[in-house]
Each structure stands twice: as structure tokens, then as C-alpha cells.
């Protein structure tokens, strides 16, 4: 018999089912892959941001320090930061002791909120860019990722560091203050293992992104990283690389990209025609292609065209 109470009970239970489903769906399934003695990597999908991946497209590195784990980059959202914090506690009960942001792109520092009571280190240029552009990035991330972003607020890095020898939570690093992917890109070489946390200066089998890029400066930075002869490269996106092939590939791609856009400008091509140009085989299989190439045409072509076309008055 359908009484008033059972009806109300049924009605009350209805909204619960979809809510539980939504909560189950929007959770990051992060795993820490051991790379070397006291070093783990959380490997991101080699894709663009989507509702399916929740923005978990970035590589995050964890290293053992004296009082906990040092965290390199914090992911794309508050929820991602929370998932990282609990993953860290499963590796070391003391959790995260110090944080580094390699640069100011949102997939690398939007989890900062969770670690706001610990020092968050970055280059001065990164801190400033996060202050200047963070809110605009947040608008776009909410649009791309929807509910994955719930509660995420922009927390810029707190502690400015310079280049050179650097101790973080008792672990020694060489800090390389570089740029080119953005105005300020920090790469850190772990002195104990020769592991290079390269940030987005290096991509591997995933197309490099260029919204804030300065390609000549980026090429110089890659040369500097190559000269350090790292034993293991952890790129910002793509698998860890013990051979250095990731640096060579990123250099090759950037050289090809710049050359293709300049040749296009010199033969009167428009952006749409360039975007439709098929990619060479060696780049066509990279993650997030051809979308990332098309985005690069939008970012870089107007400036390149101005440099290449002659004055008409």
C-alpha cells in the first residue's frame, strides 16, 4: 500500500542515487609509480583537458625528504590536490613536507590549495604570472572541467627561489631557472640520483603546448638541460625517460613547428590552411595531436607572420 510516508520516503531517496553516482564518477584514481630510490611519479594521461580525465593530464613527482615527501607540481584542481595528499600519506605517513611549482600553467599548480600551510616554492616569474593570469586560467578550467573543479581556488606559490644549489627538506638539488615554455620554467636536478624534474620544458610522446611559448628561448633551455646529462628525465607530460630521447624529441618538434609556420607565412598561407596541413609521421602519433598543433598555429602564427612579411608602406 502506498502511504504518505512511503511516498515521501521514495521521493527522498530519488535524488540520492544520482548524487552518489556523480561522486563516484568524479574521483581521481592516482597511482604512484616508483622510479628510483625514494622517487615516485604520478603519470598523467597524454591528452588535453576533458570531462573524462578531469584534467589529470600532468606528471607529478614525489621525492623523499627528511620530514616527509617533496611534491613537484600539484595537479589541476582542489580535488586532485586532495587525492595527491592521500596518496602521499600512503607512501609516507608524514605526508607532503614541501611543494615546488615548475611553472604557472593551471594543470601544474591548481592543487596548491591543499598544501597552502606548507612552503610552496617557485621562481619569482612563476609567482607573478600565477597572480596575473591565475583567475583567467580558473575561468577556462571551470568551463573545460565543470564539477571536477568544485571548490578550487587559485593559490599562487608562496616562496620564491633562485637558481643554483638548493636544499629542500634536506634533499639537495640543482635548480635551473629557465624559460621558453612560459616566461619562467624551473627544472630541478636531484643530486642523489641524477633525476631531472623537467616540468613542461620537456614533453615525451605528447605534443608540446605553446600558449605562453618563446620558441628560441625554449630551444636554449633544452640545450641547457641536455648539457646536464640527466640519468632520468621526468617530463611534464608523457612517460619517464632514461635515455634523454624526450629532450631530443621536444627540440625536434619545436624546430619543425617554427619552420613550418615560417614557411607558411612566406608562401602567403592563412592560419586555417596551416591548421589543415597534415603532420609528419614522427609527430602525428603524439598524444593530443593534431589539436595541439592547431592550437600552436593560433598562438604563434600572428607574431611569426609579422616578422616574415615585408612592410607595404
Amino acid at each position: 500500500m502506498l502511504t504518505r510516508r512511503t511516498t515521501l520516503g521514495l521521493l527522498a531517496s530519488l535524488p540520492l542515487a544520482p548524487r552518489a553516482f556523480a561522486q563516484a564518477r568524479l574521483s581521481y584514481d592516482l597511482t604512484a609509480k616508483p622510479l628510483a630510490d625514494g622517487i615516485w611519479m604520478v603519470e598523467g594521461a597524454t591528452e588535453y583537458f576533458s570531462m573524462e580525465n578531469g584534467g589529470a593530464i600532468v606528471n607529478v613527482t614525489l621525492m623523499k625528504g627528511d620530514s616527509g615527501l617533496i611534491l613537484f607540481d600539484t595537479g589541476s584542481s582542489r580535488r586532485y590536490g586532495e587525492a595527491l595528499a592521500s596518496l602521499a600519506r600512503s607512501l609516507d605517513i608524514r605526508g607532503i613536507s614541501a611543494v615546488v611549482n615548475t611553472h604557472h600553467h593551471p594543470d601544474h599548480f591548481f592543487g596548491n590549495q591543499i598544501f597552502a600551510d606548507r612552503p610552496i616554492h617557485a621562481l619569482g616569474g612563476t609567482r607573478q604570472a600565477a597572480l596575473d593570469e591565475g583567475e583567467a586560467f580558473a575561468d577556462n578550467m571551470y568551463r573545460l572541467l565543470g564539477d571536477w573543479m568544485r571548490g578550487t581556488e587559485v593559490v599562487p606559490p608562496s616562496d620564491v627561489i633562485a637558481g643554483g644549489e638548493l636544499a629542500l627538506d634536506g634533499r639537495d638539488f640543482l635548480a635551473l631557472p629557465l624559460g621558453g615554455h612560459t616566461g619562467a620554467d624551473l627544472a630541478l636536478m636531484d643530486r642523489r640520483t641524477g633525476t631531472l624534474v623537467a616540468g613542461d620544458l620537456v614533453f615525451y610522446n605528447r605534443a608540446p603546448t605553446t600558449p605562453s611559448a618563446d620558441i628560441p628561448r625554449w630551444q636554449q633551455a633544452l640545450e641547457a638541460l641536455q648539457a646536464e646529462k640527466p640519468a632520468l628525465v621526468i617530463p611534464g607530460h608523457g612517460p619517464a625517460d632514461p635515455t634523454g630521447a624526450s629532450i631530443t624529441q621536444t627540440r625536434d618538434y619545436l624546430g619543425w613547428l617554427d619552420g613550418t609556420l615560417r614557411a607558411g607565412a612566406r608562401s602567403g598561407l592563412d592560419m586555417v590552411e596551416l591548421m589543415e596541413t597534415p603532420l609528419p609521421d614522427r609527430f602525428a602519433g603524439m598524444g593530443a595531436q593534431p589539436q595541439e598543433y592547431q592550437r600552436s598555429v593560433a598562438h604563434l602564427f600572428p607574431g611569426i607572420e609579422r616578422e616574415e612579411l615585408p612592410r607595404g608602406n
Binding site: G268, A298, L309
Partner: protein
Amino acid sequence: MFIRTVFAALIAVAGSAAVALDDPQTVLQDPMGSGMWNYHQKGLLGDPADIRFDDRVVLRAPDSAEDSLNVPLLVDATAIPDVKRIVISADYGPIPHILTYYPEQAEPKLALRFKIDQATAIRASVETQSGSWHIGSTYIDAAGGGCTAPANAYASDDWEEKLGEVHGRLWSASGRARLVVDHPMDTGLADGIPVFIIQDLSLQTEDGTPLARLELHEPVNEDPAFTFYFDAGALPASVKVMGRDNNGNRIRGVLSEGELN
């Protein structure tokens, strides 16, 4: 009861009459289903009777606008004979009319960049010499804000010196003319910045014969950039660029098949 029925009937009649009054004289089935096309068909095109959507008018653009201030678009109506003009517009946005292209001696094909304010259907409405209209469409997704942001030019203090600077070149063998003109193209929608746009821009032979002509509106991008297409070998050795903005500044330049930088 009867009175209520009469009222309902009256409202229904008035309602349908109002819709009928708003409809264009030729009602089309919009392939984009955007809900705004009927309105623009009247407002932008002057409610022509001889009008249809036509797959031969091709719009090439990215699916999504990476930079809402610089959305590339290539309109190709070369499959339509005797083109008089092409009206390029966005269904949704504070200023729908982007530009009108009069190909004159060029092919009815144009590459441009424009500012987008939100995800919207984009149209190229092609009018032939005999007055029949052929419309092509595409859809571009966008985060928005392209029309209401101040021009980037104001971030540097030398924008006035660069105003009206022309960059460009001819490629006679492939029949291309590429043109970039420095101009803020202020829409008037950013706070405290009045409308400041190039209104007319044309390519002419040395003796003033028009080769191709553009009538620009606010949504054209800052530093407007165009590729014009001609028959291979049809371009003269040099082409004059003539233009004017709404403040009376003249734009003058010459394109030729000269040295690249």
C-alpha cells in the same frame, strides 16, 4: 467558461500572428538550428525572397576558438558563379556583422580573422549578380569575451606609431595577396573606449581599378589580416592598398612580389 475560451483563442491567434510578422518572407530550415537565423536573414540581408542554404559555400575554421580575439576563418564560394558580395556574420554576439566582401576581380574566397564573443554559428551569405542568396554555415565553440576586451595594442605605448602600418605580399604564381594592417579595431564595448575601426579596405591596380573590396565591422580582429585569392598569374606586379577608418585616418600601402624579410 465561454469567455475564457474566447480569450484563449484570441491569445493563440495574436501569438501566431506575431510570429508570422517576425518571420522572413522565405523561411528556411537552419542546418545549425541556432534560433537566430530568421532574425539575421531579415536584419542583415534585407529579407530577400530568393535565398537558400547551400553546401557549395564552404566555411573552414577550427571547431573551437583557441584565442577568442583571433579566430581564423576561410570562406570559399568559388563553386557559386557570378558572386557579387559575401556577408560574413556570427549568429550570437553583440555585433553580428563581421564584414562584407566584394570580390570584384578576385575569386569569391577570403581568409580572415575575427573576434568571437561566445560559441556561435558563423555564416557566409553569398549574393550573386542576379540577386539570389546562398548561405554556408559552420559552428565555432568559444570561451568568450572576444568582443569586450580592450585591444592588446594599448599594452604597448607605441601603438599610435604603428597605426595603419601595412605588411603583406603578392604571390603571383599561386594568385595570392596577403595583407595585415595594424589597427586596434576597438568595438566600443570595452569600458571607456569608443568605436575605432577600419571601415573600408580595398586592393586596386596602380591606375585605381578595384581588384577586391572589403567593408569591415567591429568584430574583425585587431590588426586585420586577409588572404585574397586570384587566378594564377592574374595579379599585376604591384597592387595598391587603400583604406580608411572611422576617425578619418587613411591607410595606404603597396604590395608586390618583393623580398621576404
